[in-house]
Symmetry: C2
Subunit: 276 residues, 2 copies
């Protein structure tokens, strides 16, 4: 999987800073009109942003099962009606064909193209899934004073393929992909406490400490993202990551799957701070 | 809906007392061999018990959506593969055709019969859904010292049709049915704190105080269950209830739906005290 395919943890850039206080609806309007084409990190702070997976209906029940069975990597926050591009449970007037700034189109598991609108690709048999993402829990950690190195130092959060298997469902299976944030153990304990309140945003860590304990041979060689800086007295803290379902879907090689382009999330009207 | 159709909140009786410390697998074995045919309250304490709904596959995606959209009344803890009677994500060797002590068979939304085994009724297109139930959160409240009047006084928890609508999905819709437990406000606040940890068992209350606030005209006339005793200085505390999806499924009138008989729950191998 190319870097292109990861869930980007980038922070505000360009327009984002000015849009931090904007409403989700306002930012979606800019996106719908093509006035924002890039990443959404830092925009409409306080509104939940989500990962996107659009699949044909004949795979939808299996994917719903996969999310139910793997709530930490795949916290399901919304599912559309079959063929309906609107997402009324996630916000007002959300049209998933136009309200994400950039889409990746996968055909048979391969990235075929990246586009800014999928109106022409929409079909009556498509079902939209929106999964919680890490932006919201990072907001909560920062608000609580837990330091996040990758944001301070401006690098991409490192991600690793663990040896923890997801529970399969139909064609969907594979390892849990984890993101890693280094911190002192006292902060790690606090991070568990804080993220326990956010089961819909990956929830609590899946592991703290020895990377070998979850099958990671070299913490300085992430599978995706940047090489981390881990200081003396810090432990690596591993959370289930939204790359997990992306990798599972790509491995299943569905004839068509549409995702957000990493970092270009769907901005919902739901409060990002609401636990579940 | 007859009393027959409600989720019974009865407590240990007959064999249950002796089986409080038994393993879930042991109790399921007794049930499979027909040695237990009644309610499961109080058995295998510490193991999560669940509500059951078995539906034809062509309704399964809609029912999965209904659960996703209404997590308080419909906390989804397990979904089977289509046509597979086993539930490996909920426990070892669980065969849903024989491991519940009593099943209600609904045809076109009407109760057709109550049976002790559904092996003869099993079909390749059936999907099993297991939803969290209130037994586990009541265990947690009791363990925390929150008093539960209906258990102390030995009556059925009263249940009411509220004016809070569920979010529909396909043919499934209807009001949230709530159960009510009276207590002093100080205990109600503590009950919110305790049940916040159990989103898979109806989670926090949907309302505290004035019954009219959620469309209940007379708290002493429940729609199901027994008339409550509310003492001076107590407030009614309302939780979303497992009758909600049962009522929604019956109203949708699927050609076939199989549920547990109220009170005769599926006993899983999952720890009942695990938050999510």
């Amino acid at each position: 999987m190319a870097l292109q395919d990861i869930e980007d943890r980038g922070r505000p850039e360009n327009a984002a800073g000015n849009l931090a206080g904007a409403s989700a609806a306002y930012v979606r309007g800019l996106i719908r009109r093509g006035e924002i084409t890039g990443q959404t990190g830092g925009m409409a702070l306080g509104q939940m942003q989500g990962n996107l997976a659009i699949l044909p209906a004949d795979l939808a029940l299996d994917f719903a099962r996969y999310c139910q069975r793997n709530p930490k990597p795949c916290p399901l926050v919304g599912v559309s009606e079959t063929g309906d591009p609107m997402l009324p449970t996630l916000g007002e007037d959300i049209d998933i064909r136009s309200d994400v700034s950039s889409y990746n189109i996968y055909r048979d598991g391969e990235l075929a193209e990246t586009v800014g609108d999928i109106t022409d690709l929409w079909r009556d048999d498509l079902v939209t899934f929106v999964l919680g993402c890490s932006f919201s829990f990072e907001e909560a950690l920062l608000a609580d004073g837990v330091p996040l190195r990758h944001l301070e130092a401006g690098y991409l959060v490192p991600m690793y393929r663990s040896n923890i298997a997801t529970t399969p469902a139909g064609p969907f299976s594979g390892p849990i992909v984890v993101s890693m944030r280094p911190m002192p153990m006292s902060e790690a304990i606090r991070a568990v406490e804080v993220t326990a309140r956010f089961p819909m945003m990956h929830g609590t860590p899946v592991h703290i400490g020895d990377p070998a304990g979850i099958g990671i041979a070299d913490i300085l060689q992430p599978d995706w993202g940047d090489v981390p800086e881990i200081r003396a007295g810090e432990v690596p803290v591993f959370w289930a990551c939204g790359v997990t379902p992306q990798a599972a879907v790509q491995a299943a090689k569905p004839p068509l799957c549409i995702t957000h382009t990493p970092g270009s999330m769907l901005i919902t009207d739901l409060p990002s701070g609401r636990p579940a």
